[in-house]
């Protein structure tokens, strides 16, 4: 018995020995590999293409940062954030994460249930304007908001089904009411100066979402919400319904897959309805020269932590160039006036910025003048970024288009319209803006 035991122990010795002989060198080889790789400094990236951000830089030394510990913390961050081959590793890691579960549909962010949308709209009495429209002089005070930029890009939760993402829409009754009241107030203040048109643009989740998902998800009914808001506006507002049109075209490429905006094609269908409401003939799309910019990875891409399903199928930004000779100038964040073109070639721009092809992106104030149109017709477009894709189609119809991004522009709309002799004021707002309290507050500043 004893001898057997000894034999067994000998075998055991040999067996564990073979493990050690392999394991210890392998372990040190892995550590050594990591060590060497980590110190090949030229391999360390400084910018992440996929995340569209500058990576953490090596911290600046100071006695204070040394004692507070932030210097060492900075080194830690720099070390792992700029690790050689990081892009490949990060993307391998997100591939790995696909194994976590069944991913036919994915949701990022916290979905909150919206308020109930009342069946009958509440039409408020026309707002009483207490103050007379300010004198024209206030127009000159129209300046850039110098303070830190307000948070304008605040996406709701994002649903990813296949290679198409959607932003959830949550109806918020209080904010929707404030939006409707604000448009009514603007119409009242602009009475006698301009006609106010309001277009609420549905987002993809209300239009192109597959029917199999439409009724299960906790996204509010956009058709009903838009009807409610339109119904709640005073009759002086000319509302432009585009929901049904977009639904009729839902099989087409009218929304991006990787970004929350509509495409120029979607915007064109919106423009057709606007033309109808305004009473002018929409110019057929075929009259325009189409330009395409490939490789667009928009807001959904970053919002879903660069989901590989989106990476593998980027969007293409199509744009339709105005056929008239135009001049465009926008005011940048420092108040500088910069000449630009209505459609910019963004082929070389980074993947996340290609929606800026339209009217130079979001600037507080942009003016587009058509050099070929006779007369003096001018209009004002009050918009956030959804308006950008539609505005190029308006160029043919006006001598001058004043574009106001209410998020950045400060001034009095009525006084401005009076000064610019704008007969038409178009509010073009995507439906998500109407549930966003900070955006609606900014709109209210237009008439305060």
């Amino acid at each position: 018995m004893n001898s057997i035991r000894i034999k067994f122990d000998e075998k055991k010795e040999r067996r564990t020995a073979s493990l050690e002989e392999l394991l210890i060198p392998s372990f040190f080889a892995v550590l050594a590999l990591g060590f060497i790789l980590a110190f090949i400094l030229p391999l360390r990236p400084s910018v992440s293409q996929s995340e569209k951000r500058k990576l953490t830089a090596f911290p600046q030394f100071s006695m204070q940062s040394l004692f507070s510990g932030s210097y060492f913390e900075g080194i830690d961050l720099w070390f792992s954030d700029t690790f050689p081959l990081r892009e490949q590793m990060v993307s391998a890691n997100s591939d790995l994460k696909k194994l976590y579960g069944i991913n036919t549909v994915q949701i990022s962010g916290d979905v909150e249930k919206g308020d109930d949308i009342p069946d009958a709209p509440t039409r408020p009495p026309a707002p009483v304007i207490t103050t007379a429209p300010p004198a024209e002089t206030t127009v000159e005070q129209t300046t850039e908001k110098p303070a830190e930029p307000i948070k304008t890009q605040e996406l709701n939760s994002v649903l990813l089904a296949g290679d198409q993402a959607y932003e959830y829409y949550t109806f918020v009754r209080k904010t929707a009411d404030r939006y409707a009241a604000e448009i009514s107030k603007a119409a009242a203040k602009l009475k006698g100066i301009s006609t106010v048109y309001d277009m609420i643009v549905p987002t993809g989740i209300g239009i192109i979402i597959p029917d199999s998902l439409r009724n299960s998800i906790n996204s509010s009914d956009q058709n009903k919400a838009i009807k409610y808001m339109y119904g709640s506006m005073s009759e002086t507002v000319k509302t432009v319904s585009i929901y049904d049109t977009l639904m009729a075209h839902k099989a087409e490429y009218i929304y991006f897959r990787t970004d929350h905006h509509w495409t120029a094609l979607g915007a064109y269908y919106g423009y057709e309805q606007l033309a109808k409401a305004k009473g002018f003939r929409a110019i057929p799309l075929s009259k325009y020269q189409k330009v395409s910019f490939k490789g667009f990875l928009g807001s959904f891409y970053s919002e879903t932590d660069k989901n590989p399903a989106l990476t593998k199928h980027p969007d293409t930004v199509d744009a339709y160039k105005p056929f008239n000779n135009t001049l465009m100038k926008y005011t940048d964040s420092k108040g500088k006036v910069i000449p630009w073109s209505v459609i910019t070639d963004v082929s070389d721009w980074s993947a996340g910025t290609k929606y800026n092809a339209f009217i130079g992106g979001d600037n507080s104030y942009t003016v587009i003048s058509n050099q070929e149109t006779a007369g003096n017709a001018s209009c004002i477009v009050v918009k956030e970024s959804f308006g950008n894709a539609l505005i190029p189609f308006l160029v043919a119809h006006y001598k001058t288009i004043h574009v106001i991004d209410y998020r950045y522009w400060d001034g009095d709309l009525a006084a401005f319209a009076k000064a610019k002799k704008a007969k038409d004021v178009f509010f073009i707002n995507n439906i998500s803006a109407t549930r966003n309290e900070s955006l609606v507050s900014r709109m209210e500043d237009l008439t305060d």
Binding site: T16, S18, F28, F67, L99, I102
Partner: protein, 489 residues
């Protein structure tokens, strides 16, 4: 610095092991270990290295005093002074703001509660040094005459900042005589890799999912956002809340035991044998058993230095219950300067007392799986108390689990969350059980002495270690900050 950090993994640890293995004698090895440990600590808390060293110096002097005056009343005086000093520092740094805030709430003074930064690891290293001083007083060990060795013990980077709470007497012999055999070194590597994987691959994912369901701690603790947080949490579908609490339950074990695994593993690599800190606590079938398997170094600390000195269970039932009350209140408070932690400790006090009185006997008699379900339920609900510093949020989540907030059970989004992570949850649940360990030993037994099988197993083990380290690296690259949960304690 933390262990699940690429700088630690690919720079600090290799340099440490390299320098260590180049050193010929134990004295040099100890000097290297001390320097690395102080750098490790200073990396996170440059200022508080002074606290660490100063506290050790004073306690060292007290311990010499105790030994010098052994047998006289003065020894006791030195002990009391050492305890007052060490616990006093812990009290100021960890509970100062909390105490003042509570005084302010009652009396209105002071007008401004200063916020005192918590030095990393103070709860752990204070207990380590206390165990040393008390054991010297009890005569269980001689005082350490070499200050640097005591400092090395206290600052040892393996265990200094997040445990396990290694007692001086358990490793005092290894301070001067220790050796790691290749077999132990290998075991250490495997243990370290297992811990790294648990942290980087499982616990961090649990954490990000939990944060998305139950709000991140920074948001949930924000007093100004209380109303919004209540609204958010009370609207969550019940099936999502169950997932959130389950993931938190998995996270807290995986995260904390991962740290202990890595510490124990690195100890083995250089010949330190730290005691186990966890023994698959979620497989327990009573609360008392759970606490014998969870954070063992802490619960045994309170047992040996508080519960037993108070008389333990030898002075009648009423006194036993009182002693348990003291121990569990302290255990709760040790986890954080906040009332929810005290309540969390007392919550376990209630169940342990009930088990002592009658429940324990019932649990012994009913079928095993029922007692197991009982334990899991107690622990599950306990973690809600642990998660939220604001009791109103605890209540909201508790009600929400049973749809008592007017919240639905099901939603499409909640179902999606489950589906998206179903395999991950299964993997994490397996990781908290001894299943893999059992499977491994079964395979080894089956392989017996067949060299082909044993070789195959060895290759599988080596591959597993390499793959885990590489996958963890992928997960940690670009992951900007992932502190261990138990850092806050």
């Amino acid at each position: 610095m933390v262990f699940s950090n690429l700088l630690f993994l690919y720079v600090f640890l290799p340099l440490n092991l390299l320098c260590y293995s180049l050193a010929k004698d134990i004295r040099t090895k100890n000097v290297i270990l001390l320097i690395f440990s102080l750098v490790f600590y200073a990396w996170g808390e440059p200022k508080f290295v002074l606290l660490l060293v100063g506290m050790t110096l004073v306690d060292w002097l007290f311990s010499l005093g105790i030994e010098h005056s052994r047998g006289t009343g003065r020894a006791k005086l030195w002990l009391v002074l050492a305890c007052v000093f060490s616990l006093g520092l812990l009290g100021i740094f960890k509970y100062g703001s909390f105490t003042l805030a509570n005084i302010q709430a009652v009396t209105g003074y002071p007008a401004v509660v200063p916020s005192i930064a918590l030095p990393i690891g103070i709860s752990f290293y204070t207990f380590q040094i206390l165990s040393y001083v008390i054991d010297v007083y009890r005569g269980e060990i001689p005082a350490q005459h070499n200050f640097w060795l005591l400092l090395m013990y206290k600052s040892l980077f393996h265990v200094c900042i997040a445990g396990p709470i290694v007692r001086y007497k358990d490793i005092s012999n290894e301070l001067l005589v220790r050796q790691s055999t290749p077999a132990e070194f290998s075991a250490g590597i495997m243990r370290f890799a297992a811990g790294l994987g648990k942290k980087a691959l499982l616990a961090n994912t649990c954490a990000s999912l939990t944060n998305s369901i139950l709000l991140p701690d920074s948001v949930a603790s924000n007093a100004g956002m209380l109303a919004a947080n209540i609204k958010t949490l009370s609207g969550k579908p019940s099936m999502l809340l169950w997932l959130g609490v389950l993931l938190f339950m998995l996270q807290i074990y995986l995260d904390f035991s991962a740290y202990s695994d890595m510490a124990i593993g690195m100890g083995l690599m250089i010949g330190f044998h730290y005691k186990e800190n966890f023994n698959y606590p979620y497989t327990a079938s009573s609360v008392s058993q759970f606490w014998r398997q969870w954070h063992i170094s802490l619960s045994s600390f309170f047992r040996d230095y508080v519960y037993f000195p108070l008389g333990g269970s030898r002075k009648g039932l009423a006194r036993t219950i009182f002693n348990l009350f003291v121990v569990w209140m302290l255990t709760g408070l040790w986890h954080g300067a906040s009332w929810n932690f005290v309540l969390w400790g007392l919550y376990f006090f209630v169940f342990i007392s009930l088990e002592k009185i009658a429940l324990g006997k019932i649990l012994d008699r009913i079928p095993g799986f029922l007692s197991h379900v009982y334990l899991l339920a107690v622990v599950f609900f306990g973690w809600i108390l642990f998660r939220f510093r604001r009791i109103s949020l605890v209540w909201v989540v508790l009600k929400g689990l049973f749809c008592a907030n007017g919240n639905p059970f099901y939603s499409f989004e909640a179902k999606t969350m489950w589906l998206n992570n179903c395999f991950f949850v299964i993997a994490a649940v397996i990781a908290v059980t001894p299943a893999i360990k059992k499977l491994g030993s079964k395979l080894k037994n089956k392989a017996g002495s067949n060299p082909a099988y044993t070789n195959a197993i060895a290759i599988a083990q080596v591959s597993a270690v390499v793959i885990i380290i590489l996958l963890s690296t992928l997960a940690l690259v670009g992951n900007t900050y992932n502190p261990f949960l138990y850092f806050q304690f």
